[in-house]
């Protein structure tokens, strides 16, 4: 019997030692985030010397510089960090729970629900301010996610594929309804199209305080999800044989995504790409253990959004680009670079 020797194949490239998350990595990212936050206070579409920024930070004096730093830059920086953290974590949860590397927080219909609720708020209730938009989009995000959850759940609980399909269907329906309203009424369209770009500018601290509780609850749920997500990656059957309630774990995770994405969208409007890209970047540094993926995603999300916002302030001086536009312009190429340059850590 002749043995058929396996055709000699190219020797498999020696796998690089898998990267692992570490406390040191978390500390480095935290340091970078703080640095970005300070840059965001110092750099704006109007040039204020660093020494003046420091002076007015320590001693607000009512000057233009002081008003700019305290009234504009601090609120938008704090908000960008919070929203970046929220979207980064939401993206990681979403990709983990659907076991789909292309999943992003908007897949649960949360953004479409928020958009539709904002449009209804503008059109039917005459809402014109950002605080009002935020309330409407929180409610809309919650209702849409609940609908997706109900439709996408099968006997054994929410099944990832059904959830994503339900999310896409509900999103398509809600976006169509949104279009119907904005095409009927140009004032609504005017107000909506600015919300729809995604921006952290010209929002006061009130918006931050308004959405913060939801983000904190979302982060708490994400923390609960982290270890169960590792088990869920093995499939529901294996996970339950290891003593996990897949249904309960998924409800916690999906509630987390709802809270985080709903709050982020309420505060800033939809911001494309962040939730999709950040978990991939995070996994590149942290490996696939969700107990590290989630904190890394949080910090990288905050970092990326603050940096994108600062970039938006300096590229078209004396005007500004909304961070939603910058994210879309930066996020696309960065994502392509990651795909081409590195082998994505598979999930």
């Amino acid at each position: 019997m002749t043995t058929i020797a396996p055709a000699p194949t190219a020797a498999p490239a020696t796998p690089r030692p898998a990267r692992r998350g570490s406390l040191r990595g978390v500390l480095v990212l935290t340091g970078l985030l703080v640095l970005a936050g300070l840059l965001s206070l110092a750099i704006g579409s109007r040039n204020i010397p660093l020494s003046t920024v420091v002076d007015v930070l320590l001693d607000p004096d009512g000057s233009d510089a002081s008003t700019i730093v305290h009234g504009l830059r601090i609120p938008r920086t704090v908000l960008a960090i919070a929203v970046g953290v929220a979207l980064g974590v939401a993206g990681a949860l979403m990709q983990g729970h659907t076991r789909n590397p292309l999943a992003e927080p908007g897949l649960l219909g949360v953004e479409a629900g928020a958009a539709f609720a904002v449009v209804i708020g503008i059109y039917a209730f005459g809402v014109t301010d950002l605080t009002g938009y935020a309330w409407f989009s929180l409610v809309g995000a919650g209702l849409a996610a609940a609908a997706v959850f109900a439709i996408g759940s099968t006997r054994g609980g929410p099944d990832p594929v059904s959830l994503v399909l339900a999310g896409m269907a509900i999103s398509a329906l809600l976006y169509a309804l949104t279009q119907v309203v904005v095409l009927r009424d140009v004032d609504t369209l005017d107000a909506y199209r600015f919300w729809a770009v995604g921006s952290v500018a010209s929002r006061g601290m009130d918006v931050f305080w308004q959405v913060l509780p939801f983000i904190l609850v979302g982060l708490l749920l994400a923390a609960f999800s982290a270890s169960t997500l590792n088990l869920l990656q093995l499939g529901d059957d294996v996970a339950s044989s290891l003593g996990l309630h897949p249904m309960r774990a998924k409800i916690i995770g999906v509630l987390g995504v709802m809270m985080l994405t709903g709050a982020a969208t309420a505060a800033c409007g939809p911001i494309a790409f962040l939730g999709l890209v950040v978990p991939h970047v995070a996994r590149y540094f942290s490996g696939i253990d969700y107990r590290w993926v989630i904190p890394y995603s949080a910090l990288i999300g905050g970092l990326l959004l603050v940096v994108a916002d600062v970039v938006g302030r300096v590229v078209v001086r004396p005007g500004e680009l909304q961070v939603g536009i910058v994210m879309a312009m930066l996020g696309g190429p960065v994502f392509i670079y990651l795909v081409r340059r590195t082998r994505m850590v598979r999930i």
């Binding site: 700019i68 009927r184 140009v186 004032d187 600015f194 004396p318």
Partner: protein, 325 residues
Amino acid sequence: MRNVLLATTLVLALAACGSDEQSSDEPEPQAAGGPWTWTDDVGQTIELDETPTKIAAYGDAGAALWNFGITPVALFHYMDPADDPTFEDLDLSQTEVIGTAYGELELEELAALQPDLIVTTTYDGDTPESMYGFKDEAQLAKVQEIAPVVAVEQSGSALDVIATNEELAASLGVDTAAGSDVAEHKAAFEDASAALTEAAGLGRTVLPMYAEDSGLYAVIPADDPAMAYFADLGVQFEETGAKDDYYWEILSWENSAKYDPDIILNSQRGSFTTEQLEEQPVFGSLAAVEAGQVHPWKFKSMDYPSLTAYMAELTDWLTNDADVA
């Protein structure tokens, strides 16, 4: 562009000749029903066997013709005309509104109304194949199958644009001779212009603008016919705009205190409300905002009654507001 300039110059020259001579120079308005020829501001010459009687129009162009005495059979606008100050003195029940969002017009309704002519506004760079007021070239082509579309360029001083509108109205049969409604409106317009010049002499500075989340849009007066005319009358606008800017100088909220005027004119087309302006950290601390000297900027159609009414308001603000800057 050169043709447009030439045409505008000719119109200006005609206008300068005085109303008596002007009427004799113009195409015979009495010829209603006879052949009609018009060379418009994108350079096309339309020849029809009969003078059009049923006119459909883009909002701003339609409002202007309306104030010259031609009620359009159909209007398509970029917003609901009922919410636009441009139409505040016009009775919209006399026309059909067939579009309330930019580029969204009911082609079937338009066709059913069988207009003889469609009039729109245009801006520098438009061509007969690509005009302002329509979604795209395909839509314009469909509209042109229903009736010819002519454009009135919105540039230079309001006087230029009004003169074109007046000439167009006259060619369509409107009486513009001495003693006519139009002549009366023109006299009132000239009185209002004189009053505005006098108020402008008080020296208060003005900033027309639009505001949204992403920042402040300061108008460059030379690029807006109404503002350009007010500037010619002596109104002192802030000197906005870098050399490449057209119509707007866009400022972030951080830079929104770049100009410090006595009077702010806030757009009525989707801009922040006065309360929202007051809440803005930097802009809200401008003297004009704190003094409550934020007034509506009403984007008016290019005709005598519209601008007469707005000039009266502006004269009032320039006269009675305080020097705060």
